[in-house]
Symmetry: none
DNA sequence: ATGTCATTGACATTTCTTCGACAAAATTGG
DNA sequence: CCAATTTTGTCGAAGAAATGTCAATGACAT
């Protein structure tokens, strides 16, 4: 739940100096880095693994940053992308946004700025911008009171199931991956057994059992998601 | 669902020149604007109405942009905020992100850039970053839900058959080679036997059997492809 | 010390994948 | 044109994996 989870970043950059600087800077923080020195490798890593954000150079061997980002989006990946470039001109910047990047930074590479912007993107992507009252379908969550209602009926949840539901509602109706839930709740201490299942069971009992239509759906091998009952 | 919905923007800016320019520019597009010339008014408008995004000046009468944004977030509003300022310095920028803004733009106010960035923020906020639907012929795949429909009818697939269909639809109507499917699904440990045939059989049962025209065609010795039925 | 309740680990159930055996079709070579 | 051989389709059943279920544990507050 805290933001102090280790961030996983992918840096796609062929200039060793730049990637070295980024590496030194981010490794001093609570960050796990992966590198790609060409576009093709970058794209396949981005699609294969689940990063919190991607720092992407424009000029790259094999596949340029614009095409890379476009393909990434076309493949259904919505990981935040911050585009870095030595050539800072308006045309390129607009082209970048057109290709689906989230932010674009030109020449004066200021690490603190990059850091602040990356974190803003991640916050936004994860839905942690503001603590607002969340709603999805029948479900209403009052963050301040830690209260959940469905069709106005109060649903009593344990702290863990509450956190899980929070995640699900923030992403709904999209899938929330198993690992994502585990990491959010237990950090880097995967409980010996697969405890998540039990909590999902509890959550189902509380959230779905009293009602006709189940909202909590399992997506085999991937995770869970909330769905509107039709 | 498309981006052609009229955008509703709130512009919080006391400089009439700047707000005039923004007004001229955005009104030429499909945009509905609201203005506030001081911080207090801006905050109350932002909280009362549901804007797609907010353009926020830093220096404002009554309540500065930083405090405004901080209060906005604290009040549970997660509307995207783009901060504009004449004074472009690093400290202010970092402070802006600290207060929960989504983007920060300094002096050379380029309208096209503002526009591109605002739209990127809105896309991100609404969750329309990546393409999340694939279509070929009757087949519709909702990637976020891992749901497949044909002629609107829900098709239930196993994780493996889903993955295979995903590949086929992405390439359709081109041929997808056997080895390509095998490599995508099993990586570098291809099962000893020819398991793929069983999965293709399953996929046929689920995808084609309920319908008149089969879409899944075998290309002997090469692989498989989806075809449009005529 | 006692009771409550969240959490967990062990167990049961369901579902998916694999594999084998055979049938049907296509390809090849005579 | 016909057999022999390869390739693909069909399906059931066993093993593996994922998921659902619940009672015992342990932490916390009373």
């Amino acid at each position: 739940m805290t933001e102090s989870n280790t961030l996983k970043l992918l840096i796609i950059e062929d200039n060793k100096d730049v990637s070295g600087i980024l590496c030194d800077f981010f490794e001093a923080q609570d960050t796990e880095l992966d590198f790609a020195d060409n576009g093709e490798l970058g794209l396949s890593l981005a699609l294969r693994y689940d990063f919190d954000a991607i720092i992407l150079d424009v000029m790259l061997p094999k596949l340029d940053g614009f095409s890379l980002c476009k393909q990434l989006r076309a493949s259904g990946c919505s990981t935040p992308v911050l585009m870095l470039t030595a050539l800072d001109n308006k045309t390129d910047q607009l082209q970048g946004f057109d290709c689906g990047v989230d932010d674009y930074l030109g020449k004066p590479f200021d690490l603190d700025v990059i850091n602040a912007r990356i974190r803003a993107l991640i916050k936004r992507h994860r839905g942690f911008v503001a603590q607002e009252n969340l709603t999805f379908g029948d479900i209403d969550i009052d963050i301040a009171k830690h209260q959940v209602r469905r069709k106005g009926m109060l649903i009593v949840l344990t702290p863990t199931t509450y956190q899980i539901l929070l995640l699900l509602v923030k992403q709904a109706p999209k899938i929330v991956k198993r690992e994502h839930i585990i990491e959010t709740i237990w950090g880097v201490s995967p409980p010996t057994n697969d405890v998540l299942r039990s909590h999902m069971y509890q959550l189902r009992n509380q959230l779905d059992k009293p009602f006709e239509e189940p909202m909590l759906a399992t997506v085999p091998k991937i995770g869970f998601r909330l769905q509107l009952n039709e």
